[in-house]
Symmetry: C2
Subunit: 342 residues, 2 copies
């Protein structure tokens, strides 16, 4: 079993390596790939080190599995090449997610979608991922007709430069110095809230992030009729996305029943005793694999609507952990071996 981790020096890539070690992922060899610039760098791997390699036709031969988190451009080119060389690629970029013959898989939600994959499996967007984990038990029990979602997203999903930008701006505010000009985000992110996550493409009045949330949620939950409205907002949090989710079910579902369902579901921890200050926050979620859910309550404006507060670590369950969980499923279910294309 040979595993490639592509984009291994990035925030998600390094988390993938960390999660593999935490979960004792059984691999005979793990090879980290990154840009030419990082090739030759050595990465800690328990008692030994791994040497970072650059992508190339020779270098990508002989892998069973390739976990990608290196951006859409790299995935567009190299995911099919790994697949053609016989590996199954689990891709964290958005490039392949909406392709008809690429399953978009959340391990607790739609593992069956892995059947019959064609060498490429997509890992959903982070804000989508944590939401569908929380929604799946509700969908199964009562059906879901409509979602109105507002997000509170951390900066680490954007990458290391965004984390530094938040830090540098916050420091300038704290020290009452002039703020460095925003470079990663279009506006000041420290002590502010930006109703823009990713970009507005081709005159669209929804961002690409909002479009992803809406389209990917439908694909993962297997429901074309599901109505979704998303407002994605970046806030000054380092790690952990929070979401205010208004769920309109098909059948009535009480908050008590919902709490019971979610408490019994895999990958979810219900923290919901608000009178005693118990509800999930981003700081609590950071470093955890579970999706945390609280503030479960009846929406007083609609007798089939519930409100939920859903929090997850965007680098872990929102990206790295799910990729590794999907890899584990592929292995356990014998879905890794395949003949090379042609």
């Amino acid at each position: 079993m040979r595993v490639a981790v592509v984009g291994a020096t990035g925030a998600v890539g390094s988390t993938i390596l960390g999660v593999m070690r935490e979960r004792s992922f059984a691999a005979d060899e793990v090879v980290p790939f990154a840009s030419e610039r990082s090739a030759g760098r050595r990465i800690d791997w328990g008692e030994t080190e791994l040497e970072v390699r650059a992508l190339g036709e020779e270098a990508i031969q002989g892998f069973d599995l390739a976990l990608f988190s290196a951006g859409s451009h790299t995935s567009e080119e190299w995911v099919p090449r790994f697949a053609a060389a016989g590996a199954v690629a689990v891709d964290n970029s958005s490039f392949w997610r909406m392709s008809d013959d690429v399953p978009l898989v959340v391990s607790e939600v739609n593992p069956g979608a892995l059947d019959g994959h064609k060498g490429i499996v997509a890992n959903p967007n982070c804000s989508t991922m944590q939401m569908v984990v929380a929604l799946k038990p509700i969908l199964d029990a009562a059906g879901i007709e409509r979602l109105v979602v507002s997000t509170y997203q951390s900066v680490s999903g954007t990458g290391q430069r965004a984390v530094e930008e938040l830090h540098d701006q916050a420091q300038a505010v704290i020290e009452a110095k002039e703020l460095p000009a925003p470079a990663v985000y279009p506006h000041q992110i420290a002590f502010n809230a930006l109703p823009q996550v990713e970009t507005f493409k081709d005159g669209d009045d929804y961002t690409t992030e909002e479009r992803k949330m809406m389209a990917e949620t439908r694909k993962i939950l297997g429901s074309d009729e599901l109505g979704i409205s998303a407002t994605c907002v970046r806030i000054p949090v380092y790690t952990g996305h929070s979401e205010s989710v208004n769920v309109q079910t098909r059948d009535p579902l009480s908050p008590e029943e919902c709490r019971k369902l979610l408490s019994a579901a895999p990958g979810i921890r219900v923290i919901d005793d608000p009178g005693n200050g118990l509800y999930p926050t981003a700081v609590d979620a950071a470093g955890q694999d579970d999706v945390l859910v609280g503030r479960i309550r009846r929406d007083p404006s609609h007798d089939r609507c519930l409100n939920l507060w859903v929090v997850g670590d965007n680098l872990r369950k929102g990206a790295a952990t799910n990729a590794v969980q999907v890899a584990e499923l592929l292995k356990v279910r014998g879905l890794l071996r395949r003949a090379p294309a042609n």
Copy 2:
């Protein structure tokens, strides 16, 4: 014309004094009141100074107007006493807001509610205030059936201690020191998002802030049937509340029509060219009296729903500015003079 400003040394009280001067509020005498502890303190007032007084039966005689922002306890006791002494009290606390014989007034939205007041006028909650300013033109043009709101609220509404708590925690994070224990908020607020604004009372699963938003919005817009779901969230922003508002209208309303309506309405500035990075943020709203609205767009899940991003300065339009505007209306419309009670 003698004006009392009660709670004059607090965040909102001092903003009331500032707004009065900016707007050249015509008063013969302005008297700041605060707690016994602050009595005798001198406050800048243009080329002169005002001396802070303590509340007392003698001290409150002879006022035409009393602008209150000193908390519910003080308002409960002293608002009726000022009113009994012949003043009209404009109260920023929540204590009198839902009383049947107390008008709850936003200057641009329901100034007519001032008619026949009985000496007490209430100033709405900050998060409600900015939202109803944005909603009023929509209500008039197309009717409103339902609102699903998620807020992104700054700490200054909680008061100066909360501002310091955010500062101190952020500084500790930036300097990689141990965080001081939270004292004002139940959890870390720096680089976090707390789905709790104010308190959970008597086992209610909505906070008092959420209840206020829901009840006050109905009272101000004069609609008992209006459905509202509110999720109020505190984020690490110093000043300026942001709101993600999903509006279900009675009649169809296009985003273009909505933009046109709001652009023509008083107290609103539409900033809505997201492809060019133009949308409101809390940092931009701070220090401004207008409510800023952007991200106006069709909710793809409902053909009579629009999404809006509404941002306002919680200390100014959300509190002080509206109180002064209400005072101006009372004066202009001859609603100040009244016989003392009995």
